[in-house]
Amino acid sequence: MAAKIKEESWELRLYVAGNTPRSITALNNLKKYCEEHLKGRYKIEVIDLLVQPQLAAGDQILAVPTLVRKVPEPIRKIIGDLSNEEKVLVGLNIRPVSI
């Protein structure tokens, strides 16, 4: 199982609305987790809905910030500032390497 996950690449998309403290916190948290667990296998795309509001409907965005895992399937969404590491990892289905 662990080997399989390692082979996959991760496409993550973070939706934010403007440069708010909350979105900055979310982006920082995300970067931190990815560096820890998915080093070299991930891609983060940040979309500011204030700039591109038409993209909100595509991924069914309601709340901001929202993190969407596009790849691997299935699509998962995590909303909030991603302050709880464990919840984020469970949500993204990432098994911590520290074990």
């Binding site: 709340a63 299935p74 909303i79």
Partner: protein, 586 residues
Amino acid sequence: MATIKKKTTHNKITTLRKLPTGISGLDEITGGGFPEGRPTLICGGPGCGKTLMSLEFIVRGALEYNEPGVFMAFEEKSEELAMNVASLGFDLPKMQKDKKISIDYVHIERSEIEETGEYNLEGLFIRLGHAIDSIGAKRVVLDTIENLFSGLSNTNVLRAELRRLFQWLKDKGVTAIITGEKGEGTLTRQGLEEYVSDCVILLEHKVVNQIGTRVLRVVKYRGTTHGTNEYPFLIDEDGISVLPVTSLLLNHEVSTERVSTGIPSLDDMVGGLGFYRGSSILVSGTAGTGKTSMAAYFADATCKRNEKCVYFAFEESPQQIIRNMKSINIDLEAHIKKGLLEFYASRPTLYGLEMHLVAIHKMIKKFKPKTVILDPITNLITVGSVSEVKSMLVRLIDFLQAEQITVIFTALTLNNIVNEQTDEGVSSLVDAWILVRDIEHNGERNRGLYLMKSRGMKHSNQVREFVITDRGLDLVDVYLGPNGVLTGSAREEQQLMEEAGSVLHTHALGRKDKEIARKRTVLEAKIASLQEEFESVQDELNKSYVEEDLRKEVMTKNRKQLTDSRHNKDAKPLPRVENNNRKKKK
């Protein structure tokens, strides 16, 4: 609370502006529509028409008032919505293409969403804002926003965000509808009415006696007057129609024009002119007394005047009525072909009373008849209580009188009813009441027609016998004799007897006349013979008179001669004259 305070001060400056919904009847109840630029809450249980009503608000706004609208659906996908309303003739995909409406489906799936840390619903705001701006929307629907609560667990955030959303919608100046599912003891499950306090409309689906009726009530409408009752509404192929039940006042125009009933002898009972146009006429009677026939006559008379008529049949099918009426020489089919007569047949149990009323309204508005026939109203009682039927009929009569439509009700009365009230107690509402009653006498049943009342015109107080023949209906004066009221064959017998009596009478008279004539001839003959006699006597007398005169003359002559001869002593003619004198002396 701050927002509410702001609103009240706003109200003082300008009166509330209303945005017409375009839903028939709803604008009348709300006095012009929903509050412009404010959110309105439509709440109700499942299947009561919240989504349809809000969608119709958007569609009508786009089509009729040129106000584009955004429909944000939390429950159904836009394709599903389009399919659901396609039957109403709303082409959503085309309208979306024309940028008249925008449908945004918001999908919330709890299993896909993980919550961690703080968030807000800015994403929703941005989506909505984008949709509004892209088509310049004036109307917004959020259907059903409560679904957010099932998808997201942090209710504190949600509540705060909803409050912000409604304020944001107000700031945007859009007229919004928010739908909400009815909760236990509250109008909505999540207490949305807390946030939307300007206008709250409650929809309900009631089932009474196994008959479902959808009703609408304006629970609250700040800053304006509105109808407060429960108004039934109908969802059919034209969308939603709400019926303002008691908004009508008693101030309609009246006509002095009279219209014939089609039965000349019945017209005669009310002065030969018939009833007033726009009046309501009740024909009641026991079973088989010819109520439907009378109604059909009226329909026939209306169509013959080239006026339209709608026949609401609650008992028989149109084909049945047409066939039956042919037997009394009325051809209704010809009127149907000409487009003057329309039948509307439905079982009373098809839907509730109010629905019938709505259906009747719709039919009348569409067909614009001059005469309406309801046959019979008694059957409506199967779907409602007496008071409900009465209140329905009151509203119907009000509506019809306002439209100047003459209406005929037929009602079945039961034999055992002592007072002559009809079942529905509508006799006090109608302008004219014709009662047909069975008169049992001499082993047969006959129909007696009474004109119980006829407002505003003189009418006969006499009972007429109501006869139905192959040639049609007619009223015959009943025979009021020493043995009481006679009808049917008893009346005919009496009439025959009278006829025979009169023949005998004339015969007897004739004989007497002849005798007198004969006597006169005899007398005249006698007079003639007496006259003859008299004349002969008179002749005789005359003869002797003439002789006497002659003699007198001759004597005078002779005497003169004699005297002359004495004086002249001329004796020659004397002896002859003496002779004459002698003769006379003899």
